[in-house]
């Protein structure tokens, strides 16, 4: 059963994604906020994919991407964001090795998220 890490600072969003993915046969671990996500990643626990919210206070999506690079974790990441702006520009994401296909804008259609996850996992 693939293990998905869901990172969002909004507990209700994390809950919804967790419920939906669980119903579709995934094992879901959720962390509320970036700091908890970092703790989890540093614990060395294995995950197959990460659904990552970009804009979070203190530790944000970019920090976590940076950390996974430093830790040399080759984990596929799907980015969730409420908006793209100068702070989290598409250019910056491209520089970090992402494409527009890796980004989902909130509010997300859950079946679209599911499809993206399946494709990512199939490509690994």
């Amino acid at each position: 059963m693939p293990r998905i890490l869901v990172v969002d600072d909004e507990p209700r969003i994390a809950d919804i994604i967790e419920k939906y993915l669980s119903l579709n046969g995934f094992e879901v671990i959720k962390t509320i906020g970036g700091e908890k996500a970092l703790e989890f990643l540093e614990s060395g626990a294995k995950i197959d994919l990460m659904c990552l919210d970009m804009r979070m206070p203190k530790v944000d999506g970019r920090d976590i991407i940076q950390k996974t690079k430093e830790m040399d974790k080759k984990v596929p990441i799907i980015l969730l964001t409420g908006s793209i702006d100068a702070q989290i520009s598409l250019e910056a994401l491209k520089d970090a090795g992402f494409t527009e296909a890796d980004v989902l804008y909130k509010p997300v259609d859950l079946p679209v998220l599911l499809e993206k996850i399946r494709r990512k996992l199939a490509a690994v």
Partner: protein, 430 residues
Amino acid sequence: MEKELQRLKAANARLRERNRQLRSREQTLQANNRRLRANEQKLKATNRRLRASGQQWKAANQQLRAKERQLQKEITGHKEAGEALQQAAEEWRITFDSIHDLVSIHDKNYKFVRVNQAFADQFNMKQKNVIGKTCYELVHGTEGPPPQCPHRRTLETKKPQHSEYFEPHLDMFVEVSTSPVMNAAGELVATVHIVRDITPRKKLEQNQRLSELGKLVADMAHEVNNPLMVISGSAQLSLLDGASGGDIRNNLKIIHEESNRARDIIQRLLKFSRPTKGDRKGININQSLDSIIKLIEHQFSLSDIRIRKTLADGLPLIVVDEKQIHEVIVNLLNNAREAMTAGGTIDIRSSKEGDFLRIDVKDSGAGMDDETLSKIFEPFYTTKEKGTGLGLSVCHGIVSAHNGELKFESQMGQGTTATILLPVGDKGED
């Protein structure tokens, strides 16, 4: 004997004659002598006179020489003064023409008396050809002074005036300042205009505003899309096969709450962008502060925070929307509380400062660094885990709409003082 007598007689006669002759000669000599004496005295007098006039002439000559020297000095002085004057005039003209701003001097009838080179160049004219034209025909292309004309206001007030506007006739944003030129009798005889092309600055400001707006829209999208994500997700979960009645009910409750959250964010944003004038009436700020303190005192004491008030007596009423001002003060108090995680004292002061009523909220909390301080009014900027970043933006909007000022002073580790200044006897913007 006879003969002897006769000889003696003759001798006597001769002697008499001789004596007469001698007397006559003596008289003549005496007369001569008198004349000579008279002449001598005349000569002496003449001599005296001559001596006197000689001295007078000498003095007169000296005076004349001195006068001549003085005149020569004056002539040189005049010449030098003339040259200095010419030099000064030349320096003035060079300076006047070196100014890049458009400078012009106008009479009371809006006519140009003098313009600098930059001014003439702007209109592709010679300086002398501008003189005598009216500023409105040349600068604005109108038949009379436009409403934004500061010259007219200077004529009315005899005081310097300032305007910033877009001048379509020149296709530029201009900053115009006019200053009165007064004569010794205190009458306004002319005005000096300085027109500055501020088009580049204005364009930059417009771009900055657009970029700020862009950031605001992105922040706004993020803030609203989060509750929308919850609403949409909860609805999608409810629509799945196998969703129980209890699940659906719970999801609907979440949808309702998140819809309210989105509504609140949008309302606060609207308030920030255009604070409503609200319902304004005269209030006693000390009474308001008392009632606010009563409401929150207990709650604050649970976080080990004491509120100390120093309210000035006899403060004038201020005409404000009481609810809005309450919101600002409560917001400042809540921020103060959140900055004092270890408890402490919040000082509230009211006082009068010139034409303003002043309210200070001082905490002994963590304080802010300069970067945070520079961003506190930015919408969506927050240092709090669950803050919307709209609180102080809204407060700033409310105070500004009351023609007041909201400012902060803070130092890391030294606490923060928030100050509200509200105009006394001002009904705010109309």
